[in-house]
């Protein structure tokens, strides 16, 4: 896993403040929290002398193939649609307590992270996932409830 320090080493380290942050270190922390993308640093993006670093950082952030932005991967060939993850997901429960949270059909489908479509779990609205954003935590509600290990985080 990449650390803030590693990202900082690849940045211009000029503290130019063009990104809106006070220092390159602060920008690195912002990158870590997914508040920024590498493109948000203009010198890094445009200055040819940082080209190598820019490509390296972009490579780190290009979403892993098949994974959502939170790193969630659904192995569709394993999933059989039992819906344990849908009912156990704390965000699903909070957003739709009488539907998905009670084991029934979703009532507010647009607010859910996980739904079952054609017998296979599908991830949507991943930005709502607790593993995402500023206050992320290592929630594993959907992993431990899956009988066949069809959900994974990278």
């Amino acid at each position: 896993m990449t650390s803030t320090m590693e990202l900082y080493q690849l940045l211009p380290k000029t503290n130019c403040k063009e990104c809106g942050k006070t220092s390159c270190m602060a920008f690195a922390a912002g990158l870590m929290a997914r508040e920024f993308m590498p493109d948000d640093c203009p010198p890094l993006k445009n200055d040819p002398k940082y080209k190598e670093s820019y490509e390296k950082i972009s490579g780190m952030f290009s979403t892993t193939e098949g994974a959502t932005e939170t790193g969630l991967i659904v192995h569709e060939e394993l999933c059989f649609g039992c819906g344990n993850c849908v009912v156990a997901c704390p965000v699903n429960v909070a957003n739709d307590p009488y539907g998905a949270g009670s084991g029934k059909a979703p009532q507010k489908v647009e607010k859910l992270i996980l739904i079952i479509e054609d017998g296979i779990v599908k991830a949507q609205n991943v930005e709502e996932c607790r593993r995402f954003g500023k206050n992320k935590i290592l929630c594993n509600g959907c992993i431990v409830t899956c009988p066949v290990e069809a959900i994974e985080f990278v």
Binding site: C79, F80, G81, C82, G83, N84, V86, V87, A88, V93, P97, G99, G101, S102, G103, K104, A105, P106, Q107, V109, I115, I116, E117, D118, G119, I120, T145, P147, V148
Partner: protein
């Protein structure tokens, strides 16, 4: 998701919250259902099909031929019906009476004895909705609902929030698996998985009863008493406990007395109440058991003689075929040639078979007369009884030219 929900008849759970999207009268997308349900629902919408000796014919010809076979038979066997609606099952019972036939369903080698004991009120039971709203301890014994009833844990027994269980599974529910192997359900149960040797169930039950009663639990296979006592204490602390009894437990017991006694003892010693629910597989096997019980007082394996029902193991499908006492077979929604042991199934080939099945099966291929009927719950409506005894009615999702098994049975009765 505007409350326009369908019933899934894929298994004994009869999930009532399935949404489907149709495209040109074909089920295109299915939401909320598990893979079993999706496959089941997408099966529908095919042309009607009637075969006599493997050649396509029209419906009246097929009915005529089937009626002729049944008329000429002295003791026909009517078998299957686990995947038929209550209405079709009642028609089949009527037909069996008229024909003096042997009538049986898959429950005679499945969970029939448990449903019979349940209908005779030998133990306490409850509905799955009770489990969702109140259940705090659930034991999956010799059952693996993750594979057989995929939505059991997520819709009813473990994960959902219920009226009196608002804080969810982590805090308020304990799922326990007792099995001979680490099943998918056992994996979810984590530390509460108790692995026992094959055939060790009866002893384990007795040891548990000892443990609950404050004695030192002992088993001949040396199960750690500490672990047994831990389990006994969880069961004792339950306010609303349920044992989901699967085939694994039934096949391992000589009779039902041990498990009935365990439920009794737990009801005495535990904080709250304890229940037993059989894990019925086919979507309406319990319905057949109840319908026949209401009519004759028996749940399966009956032989009608001038309106009177005789009951005994000799009238079960397996025994009747073994002894070759039946001389024709009307098989509805079942595939005994594929599912029965070969030594018994081969006797079926000596007698004419009439097969009513939505799918092409080994039995339908060997049948003298085959009716491709509508899939109940997808192409035709009706009522069915869920594994916990709740009656559920459903409407067809798509239109079909295929007749329902109820219609075929009605026409057959008329032709006789």
């Amino acid at each position: 998701m505007e409350g326009n929900h369908n019933i899934c008849t894929g298994c004994g759970l009869l999930c009532d919250d399935i949404e489907v999207e149709l495209e040109k009268e074909i089920v295109n997308k299915v939401y909320t259902a598990c893979r079993v349900g999706v496959a089941h629902m997408k099966e529908g919408s095919r042309e009607a099909s009637f075969l006599v000796d493997g050649k396509p014919v029209d419906e009246p010809a097929a009915i005529e031929k089937a009626a002729e076979i049944l008329k000429n038979a002295k003791n026909p066997l009517i078998f299957g019906l686990g995947t038929s609606t209550n209405e079709a099952q009642k028609k089949a019972i009527e037909l069996a009476k008229k024909l003096n036939a042997t009538l049986d369903d898959t429950s005679s080698f499945c969970l029939g004895p448990v449903v019979e004991a349940l209908l005779q009120e030998k133990f306490k039971t409850c509905t799955l909705d009770d489990v969702r709203h109140k259940g705090d301890v659930m034991v999956f014994w010799g059952a693996d609902p993750s594979d057989s009833h995929p939505r059991h844990l997520s819709k009813f027994s473990y994960f959902p929030r219920g009226e009196q269980k608002q804080r969810g599974w982590e805090e308020e529910r304990t799922a326990i698996a007792i099995d001979i192997r680490k099943s998918h359900t056992a994996k979810i149960c984590g530390n509460y998985f108790f692995q026992i040797p094959p055939g060790g169930d009866a002893e384990f039950i007795n040891a548990l009863i000892d443990g609950v009663s404050g004695k030192l639990p002992k088993t001949s296979y040396g199960y750690p008493p500490k672990k047994l006592l831990e389990l006994a204490n969880i069961l004792k602390g339950a306010k609303f406990g349920t044992i989901f009894m699967g085939l694994g437990l039934l096949y391992s017991l000589e009779n039902l007395d041990p498990i009935i006694r365990l439920v009794e003892v737990l009801n005495e010693k535990a904080k709250g109440e304890f229940h037993l629910i059989p894990m019925v597989g086919h979507y309406n096997m319990r319905g057949f058991n109840q319908n026949l019980f209401a009519e004759t007082g028996y749940v399966n394996s009956v032989k009608f003689e001038n309106g009177e029902a005789k009951h005994g193991p000799e009238y079960s499908t397996v025994e009747a075929l073994k002894a070759k006492t039946v001389d024709a077979a009307l098989i509805i929604g079942s595939d005994p040639l594929a599912s029965l042991p070969r030594s018994i199934a081969k006797n079926l080939l000596d007698i004419p078979i009439i097969s009513i099945d939505p799918c092409e099966t080994l039995t339908s291929k060997k049948a003298k007369v085959y009716f491709g009927n509508a899939i109940s719950g997808v192409e035709c409506g009706g009522t069915a009884t869920r594994m916990d005894g709740v009656e559920v009615s459903f409407n067809p999702i798509i239109e079909t030219k295929r007749p329902s098994d109820e219609e075929i049975l009605t026409k057959l009765t008329e032709a006789l």
